[in-house]
């Protein structure tokens, strides 16, 4: 391996460097530092309002930051414009509320980005989209409108839509929080398969089972800060901070 390539392999997929963000007087992110290696699965947990969703959304600049730097593949996030659009294309995002394009069929949702941004032909985009829809188990709904699908199916389409861009990183912002309980495992199964396939993932979730089984590292946030981070076994067996112990006691009670 050449030196340049070795260096590239060492470059973290995401670096968050002393990032701070305020909503008015409220400090949403307070001096956050986080580095995600290529192929790593980082699960961010914490109470509501802890800043975990905000942090996730800063990585593709859906949220701007007040100070600090964010690097994706070693490159600082560009300002709004064509360059940022290009970077976003390689960072997949899955939202809590799915956000499928409501006026387009499932298939068109998945082909739009590859055709407009990646310049794929309609035929190539369609083939790839059907392949991805099959992989997430919703190919029989390819020609329906999003509203005709269940939440779990819509969220799997949203994952396929993000994967169609061949992203280097996938961001998940509470992907199962809006789902009926019986739909959750379908979505988590797809995510688990992605993680096993080596995808670099940042997942904000309340699913402790997923964090325990799929994460390489668990990050616990509270009050806009990263309070502690550890491998899942260590974190769930013996959280170091009192705040994390409290949180786990509450969410794992049931």
């Amino acid at each position: 391996m050449s030196e340049a390539r070795a260096q590239e392999a060492d470059t973290p997929a995401i670096v968050i460097d002393k990032v701070t963000k305020h909503y008015g007087p409220h400090r949403a992110l307070d001096d956050v530092e986080l580095s995600v290696a290529k192929g790593e699965v980082v699960v961010i947990i914490g109470p509501s309002g802890s800043g975990k969703s905000t942090l996730c959304r800063t990585i593709n600049r859906l949220e701007t930051v007040d100070s600090g730097r964010i690097l994706v593949n070693g490159q600082p996030l560009p300002a709004e414009g064509r360059e940022l659009a290009q970077l976003r294309a390689s960072v997949g995002m899955v939202f809590q509320s799915f956000n499928l394009f409501a006026h387009r069929t499932v298939l068109e949702n998945v082909t739009l980005g590859p055709m407009r941004v990646r310049g794929l032909s309609a035929k190539a985009a369609r083939r790839r989209a059907l392949e991805l829809l099959e992989r997430v188990g919703v190919h029989e709904h390819a020609y329906k409108m999003p509203a005709q699908l269940s939440g779990g199916q819509q969220q799997r389409v949203a994952i396929a839509r993000a994967l169609a861009m061949d992203p280097e990183v996938m961001l998940f912002d509470e992907p199962t929080s809006a789902l009926d309980p019986e739909m959750v495992s379908d979505v988590l199964d797809v995510m688990r398969a992605l993680a096993e396939g080596g995808m670099t993932m940042v997942v904000v979730t309340h699913e402790m089972g997923f964090a325990r089984s799929a994460a390489d590292r668990v990050v616990f946030m509270d009050g806009g800060r990263i309070v502690e981070q550890a491998e899942p076994e260590a974190f769930f067996a013996a959280p170091k901070s009192e705040r994390a112990r409290d949180f786990l006691a509450k969410v794992l009670q049931h």
């Binding site: 859906l62 659009a85 976003r88 956000n99 409501a102 006026h103 409108m145």
Partner: protein, 215 residues
């Protein structure tokens, strides 16, 4: 009703001018309104300012004043058109601002997550608008846009005061000529406008049903 039958050719000419005014003005004002709406939501501050100032001024003055500008100020600047042309310019300038606000209300009604998803797959701003936001916004703007069209059809009547003999001009002409049958002339003119505006309203329901999608 004899007045109407006796003068059917005169009425027809008036109606045709009304329809031509309305069609020509809508054909330009509607796209211009969409453009203004896009400017008003643009990330470029200069565009936003131009759009906001234009709409803020034009929408808030009487149409007659806009007609005066078009019919008397433009010729002084050396612009040469027929009365019809100046009437279309006035109607376009005025109604573009109303179409703009109808479209903008539609844009604001599209959930913010749609734009976030579009940006997240790497679409630049204009493609987010073109492929994701506007197709949804225009559908929900259909009822307010038809309201604007109906207002536009009715207010083509202002052109009669500026030398264009459309339906209202025809009415004045006939009312003077047939002074014993003024009521019939008035009723016939009212029916002429209703015959244009009511189908427009009915068309809305039809189009809305055709392009509907659920969330």
């Amino acid at each position: 009703m004899n007045v109407f039958l006796d003068n059917i050719g005169v009425f027809r000419d008036g109606v045709l001018v009304t329809l031509a005014l309305a069609a020509a003005s809508t054909a330009v004002a509607l796209p211009l309104g969409v453009l203004l709406a896009v400017m008003r939501v643009s990330p470029v501050e200069g565009f936003r300012t131009v759009g906001t100032v234009y709409v803020g001024i034009v929408r808030n003055i009487p149409l007659t004043v806009v007609f005066f500008f078009s019919a008397f100020v433009l010729p002084q600047l050396g612009v040469r058109f027929s009365y019809f042309g100046f009437a279309v310019i006035a109607l376009v300038a005025y109604y573009a601002s109303f179409f703009c606000e109808a479209v903008r209300s539609g844009i604001n009604a599209v959930p913010v997550g749609q734009a976030e998803a579009a940006r997240s797959i790497g679409l630049p701003f204009h493609e987010c608008l073109r492929f994701v936001i506007l197709p949804q916004a225009l559908r929900s703007s259909i009822p307010p846009m038809v309201n604007v069209m109906i207002a536009l059809v009715k207010n083509t009547a202002v052109a009669s005061a500026f030398g264009v003999t459309e339906s209202l001009g025809t009415m004045e002409l006939l009312a003077n000529r047939e002074s014993t049958a003024v009521l019939s002339v008035l009723i016939a003119t009212g029916l002429v406008y209703l015959a244009i505006t009511i189908p427009l309203g009915l068309l809305t329901t039809h189009i809305e049903r055709k392009v509907a999608f659920s969330r």
